[in-house]
């Protein structure tokens, strides 16, 4: 399925995101794919700044600013209200950062997923608490520098997709800003389904990942091509479909593009390569098939 009927952006220029912001790209593409009949939930995160402060809004759809750990039940509440009021054509989308998803918001997200409430949850993952100034979250990968993990985080990144799959929600998918068509297709696919839909988007942050502002999209591509961040879907918590076959570039190419990994030793890089390979093999074994969303994989460019 290729993205259909997209006419206009639902986001405006003039917002205060840093130049090159990956989250801004993701928000824009998600809203573009959803169209004007959308209600958005924004919580404290970089998105809060991007969506703008009073009396401005960078969004052309109605939105509500919830609390940090309640993106999920806030969206669910809006979703119930819309249905009760007979407004069945409105989609509700919650935007949360990795902190608001993997950490403080995990409980309430789990609750909505358990109840399979009808909305789309989008995690804009820049792998740390960036809005408050680069503090580690449980989405921060192992060995990544942050201000609160100056020697590199010791724990590995939580596998949020498997956590969501364990709830058996109808749809969970990863996406990357390096692959805009794939991202928008997944959002549209989510919108067409009922129940809790979870989309995990890797949104590199130039400031927090310590790289030049023009490289955020490149990093998002490299993450996919090195298999560090595979693009796949999980339907019903069971069926895994790989939606893009990566080139399998060495993980080092991805790591060396970012200052937050500058301190890595060769041994650590090797270990990360081994872990990436292992995770990929595991995903492959569990995956039903490799099926790009667009009919022709080469339509990428």
């Amino acid at each position: 399925m290729c993205t259909q009927n997209i006419v206009e952006d639902q986001m405006r220029s003039g917002h205060m995101a840093c130049p090159g912001c990956g989250s801004a790209i993701a928000m824009r593409l998600v809203l573009r794919a959803l169209g004007p009949k959308t209600l958005a939930v924004i919580i404290p995160s970089c998105s809060s700044i991007i969506a703008a402060t009073h009396p401005h809004s960078s969004l052309r759809v109605p939105a509500f600013h919830g609390t940090f750990e309640t993106a999920a039940p806030t969206a669910a509440g809006l979703s119930y209200a819309m249905k009760i009021r007979g407004r069945n054509d409105v989609a509700v989308v919650a935007f949360a950062g990795d902190g608001g998803t993997f950490d403080i918001g995990l409980q309430s997200l789990s609750g909505t997923a358990d109840r399979n409430e009808d909305y789309i949850y989008v995690c804009l993952d820049n792998e740390a608490y960036m809005n408050t100034g680069i503090q580690a979250s449980s989405a921060t990968p192992q060995n990544a520098w942050t201000i609160t993990t100056p020697k590199g985080r010791t724990a590995r990144k939580k596998n949020i997709m498997e956590i969501m799959a364990a709830h058996r929600i109808p749809y969970a998918a990863t996406a990357s800003i390096g692959y805009p068509q794939d991202l928008m297709d997944k959002v549209q696919k989510a919108r067409s389904m009922e129940g809790t839909k979870f989309i995990h988007i890797l949104t590199p942050c130039a400031t927090g990942w310590r790289m030049a502002e023009n490289l955020t999209v490149t990093a998002a591509m490299l993450a996919v091509e090195t298999k560090v961040f595979p693009l796949y879907e999980i339907l019903g918590g069971k069926t895994r479909t790989i939606t893009y076959v990566p080139q399998g570039l060495p993980v080092e190419e991805y790591l060396k593009s970012q200052g937050r990994y500058r301190h890595l030793s060769g041994v650590e890089i090797e270990r990360m390569q081994a872990e990436t390979d292992e995770d990929w093999e595991c995903l492959l074994r569990r995956a039903m098939d490799c099926q790009p969303l667009c009919a022709n994989e080469k339509e990428v460019v």
Partner: protein, 383 residues
């Protein structure tokens, strides 16, 4: 229609008849029968609203705020730990000016752990911008729920309808339940401001940058809560006219010529009525002030009732460590600038549902009548 109902079930009935549309809730002793009864009604098809069995009270309130903002009548109920967990979201609800109505059953807040009646849980939330109504009995609880929706939806401020653990929540009383169509006439469907209009989209409740921008929101809410007093009065009068029962923000019992006024709230008030009668029979000129509305605090009414009293005795089934009983604090501040300057004596009694008998209350009043001056600190009463 006459019914025998516990306080919990009375609240459930009121919520059903108020036609609450979305009810996110989480179980906690001693609120659980409210939650269970509503779930039972839903499964029987008699509940017009939708239950959501959420995974925490914090999420319950998050869902209430969102749905209410989106124009739907909501309800939730909790107690003790649950209301404490909700604390952030209580501020969020009043700040967002949503007419959420919540039933609260006062229960001890850990630690130590216990389940008896104690008002500290709701009183700890007195700064969150919610209206608070402390009910004496199950009938009042039912009536107050209905009235609370009227008041909240007119003032766009959330309200708590509060009962005591076990004394109200679980004890069964005979009650008068109005007919549904009468309730419908009193409480029409919600017509809340349209916050999410696709044709005129806005970003609601986003960050306000400068302090100068922030202030008007708080100040307006403050004045709106003050103006709510008038709305509370009007609604109460209308309810009395239609259903024969009204409560006022406060009730003064035999206070016109009282030299000593006993002040209580909640279920303890029923006992206090008996104590006052007993003392009057003994010749003491005593009266009773029941405080029902705690927020907004009815300081004018309180001053009026106490203007001729020489002594005031406040019984608190709660404590704010580092100060004193909370009703006592609030009353003192309410009358601080009045011309009448009665003595205010504070007593702490009944924590964790310990029985406060008419004798105890009588003895307290007699003790105070003999005292020359109040103590600096509250007096702790053992059961």
């Amino acid at each position: 229609m006459r019914e025998l109902l516990s306080g919990n079930y009375a609240i459930a009935e009121a919520v059903r008849m108020a036609r609450a549309q979305l009810i996110p809730a989480y179980p906690i002793t001693p609120q659980t029968p409210i939650y269970e009864r509503l779930s039972e009604m839903e499964s029987q098809g008699t509940l017009p609203g939708t239950m959501v069995r959420v995974e925490s009270e914090h999420s319950a309130m998050a869902m209430c705020v969102a749905a209410s903002l989106a124009g739907v009548r909501v309800f939730t109920a909790t107690s003790s730990q649950g209301i404490a967990l909700m604390h952030e979201m209580l501020h969020f609800a009043s700040g967002n000016r949503v007419p959420v109505v919540m039933g609260c059953v006062n229960r001890v807040l850990a630690a130590p752990w216990s389940f008896g009646s104690d008002q500290t849980d709701t009183l700890s939330q007195r700064d969150t911008g919610w209206m608070q109504f402390y009910c004496e009995d199950n009938q009042e609880a039912f009536d107050t729920i209905i009235q609370a929706y009227r008041v909240s939806e007119a003032t766009l401020l959330p309200s708590m309808v509060i009962i005591d653990a076990f004394f109200n929540s679980h004890f069964i009383e005979p009650m008068d339940l109005p007919d549904q169509d009468q309730i419908d006439l009193f409480l029409p469907p919600p017509m809340l401001p349209e916050r999410f209009d696709l044709d005129n989209p806005a970003f609601v409740s986003n960050v306000v940058t400068a302090g100068s921008q922030f202030l008007p929101f708080r100040e307006t809410a403050f004045h709106d809560m003050e103006n709510a007093k008038e709305v509370i009065r009007e609604v109460d009068q209308e309810y009395r006219a239609r259903f024969g029962r009204g409560y006022g923000m406060v009730e003064g019992i035999k206070t016109d010529d009282a030299r000593l006024v006993l002040v209580t709230s909640g279920s303890m008030t029923s006992t206090a009525r008996m104590a006052i009668d007993g003392l009057r029979a003994k010749g003491a000129r005593v009266g009773l002030l029941k405080i029902k509305a705690f927020r907004p605090f009815p300081w004018r009414e309180v001053r009026d009732v106490l203007q001729d009293a020489a002594k005031v005795v406040v019984i608190d089934r709660n404590i704010s460590l580092g100060k004193e009983g909370i009703f006592c604090q609030e009353l003192k501040s309410a009358i601080a600038n009045s011309t009448a300057r009665p003595q205010v004596h504070g007593y702490i009694a009944g924590l964790d549902g310990v029985d406060v008998s008419p004798e105890i209350l009588e003895n307290i009043c007699l003790e105070v009548l003999d005292k020359e001056a109040p103590d600096d600190l509250p007096v702790w009463v053992r059961g």
